[in-house]
Symmetry: C2
Subunit: 338 residues, 2 copies
DNA sequence: ATGAAAGCGCTAACAT
DNA sequence: ATGTTAGCGCTTTCAT
């Protein structure tokens, strides 16, 4: 049971070879006899040897992984981004080291520091708003840094994202074209949720541009926006006598919650009130009616971020200036606004 | 930009101390003068020094993290388990190293091997079904191993979970008590989805116990079960003239999909058909009607698994035999069955 | 409370 | 295609 772990030297001894040859056998590209490699790997497996990635990384100064942070491990959009990113990096022999911060900038700071302690070869973070110390840590990391899901004015370095504000401007334009005037916005009221706050700002900008009242803001508190908080916000609005002819949720989850509250009260969607969301979550395509939303193409963000990371690692000269890749979001019209 | 990274020795030189004292300053419990430590940490921060966890772990043979695998990073239940686990481990100074396998046993095998290469101090995996090689890797890891979300007959070592089959027996009993006889089951048809297959088996067992027809099985293919596949399965069943008086989804997501299909066709829930799910996802509590489900207490699973890991690491003598902690799931009755 | 010497398990660099 | 020597950045161990 608790016998000493098998080391590379043990495998080398068993195979009658030097540790260096065993080391080479574990690298696909190294010059080792084909049969020698097969024999080494067989012996290693039999002995229960497990390669020590920490020792390898320490000596070679290459850890083979990219640190990735997401706000939550319970979100289809970030999952799609990470999956695509992971696939892209995998093709270059890189792995993802994943961390999450529960939408909390202080948590993000602690997370980034912990991840950097493991010496990733690149860092991909979600969002463009960080604590000053997080920014400093990232800038001093000495590795490529990519921010995603945002187009920050003052990026740390590289960016693959889209404008959350512009998405909501598009949505307001859509609703106004459909005849809506008294439009309410659910969420985005907590500054921690910077992407949500950006969307709310976009809502306000567009409303003012149309000469409409931008003050129908329904708060839902700390991120992430949920179905339950969306429903509660809608309930509170209706109880207060607010009679919007359209409601935009900071995400499809909040929008769906609002839809269910309407169903409970016999408020017809879209006849009495139109409803729209953000994110193109599955719920928007399955609910009755389907919910008008905006698809930010999460997988494409992951793919582009992964490809960019690979490019920057392959040729550090590419990292001479900030690179900015914009992914175009897509309006998906559902039954909730028509 | 690409200057040599700052090492502990650089900080020591700047502080006029030996590297050993700097090393101690970075361990909360080590004997260093209070002011000395503060000065060292300040200098380190100013110099942009980042502690090298790999070098530390290599020398001390303590990495300070626990490897955790989940099927998906897009699932509220696993997220709750990981959050609780993470909090519990954090109190003991341990971090989570998270990996996901997309419900694929071959992916799980590769994932477990990659995680073991980083020398975790313990391993927590989701589920009790693995490839033979995954079992071998885990058994030879020389660290505590905990399986969760299942009660396997032949566990690798320790278990914190519940019986997926028993949950569905409870649900069938509930529906039969409500008057249902022609009950259908959506999902669990792919062997990769072992927890889903267990639930399906529990459905069949209970139906036979009640002397009812257990053959109304609606397939949805590869896991995870989604709203869309649940809706498609319900649509196919209704198109084929199957007229169940109750439908159980392998998860709430599939159940909700079935509910929406009923809404689209004017089939009334629960009057024409009752609907039930599993998992106590938010959708079950927010949908109209709410969906009867089973709450497996994901956070409690995480908490117990974390506490067990901490206990086993604190005193390896505790690891003399397999420990099995059962978490009792809870039936939550909603409007979809009453 | 602080320091000196040695070495964790692997691989770069140089050999043959 | 394979072997030898040295050392990656830290911490153990034993000093003082």
């Amino acid at each position: 049971m608790s016998r000493r772990p098998v080391r590379m030297a043990d495998v080398a001894r068993a195979a009658g070879l030097s540790p260096m040859t065993v080391s080479r056998a574990f690298r696909a590209d190294a010059a080792v006899g084909k049969e020698t490699r097969a024999r080494i790997l067989r012996i290693a497996e039999e002995m229960g040897y497990v390669f020590d990635a920490a020792a390898s990384g320490l000596r070679s100064q290459r850890t083979g992984f990219v640190a990735v942070t997401v706000p939550s491990i319970n979100n289809a959009n970030f999952a799609d981004t990470v999956n695509a990113l992971s696939r892209e990096l995998g093709r270059a022999g890189l792995q993802v080291l994943l961390g999450y911060d529960l939408y909390d900038p202080a948590e993000e700071e602690a997370l980034v520091e912990q991840l950097l302690r493991r010496r990733p070869e690149a860092v991909v973070v979600t969002g463009g708003a960080h604590t000053p110390r997080t920014r400093r840590l990232l800038q001093a990391a000495g590795t490529p840094v990519i921010e995603t899901w945002d187009l920050p004015e003052r990026p740390v370095r590289h960016v693959v994202g889209f404008s959350n504000a512009a998405c909501m401007e598009t949505m307001v334009d859509h609703l106004v074209a459909r005849g809506a005037r008294a439009i309410a916005f659910i969420g985005g009221d907590i500054s921690d949720d910077t992407r949500g706050a950006d969307r709310r700002r976009g809502f306000q900008t567009a409303m003012r541009r149309h000469g409409l009242d931008a003050s129908r803001l329904l708060p839902i508190g700390a991120p992430p926006a949920s179905m339950a908080t969306g429903a509660a916000a809608m309930a509170a609005a209706l109880d207060e006598g607010l009679r919007p002819d359209a409601v935009i949720g900071v995400s499809d989850l909040a929008a769906f919650g609002a839809l269910t509250e309407c169903q409970r009260r016999g408020v017809r969607v879209p006849q009495d009130v139109m409803i729209a969301g953000f994110g193109a979550y599955e719920i928007a395509a399955v609910s009755v009616p389907t919910i008008t939303t905006i698809d930010p193409h999460p997988a494409e963000i992951g793919r582009e971020a992964g490809a960019l990371a690979v490019r920057l690692l392959a040729d550090p000269a590419e990292d001479r200036g900030p690179i900015r890749i914009e992914i175009a979001p897509l309006l998906r019209v559902g039954g909730s606004t028509s």
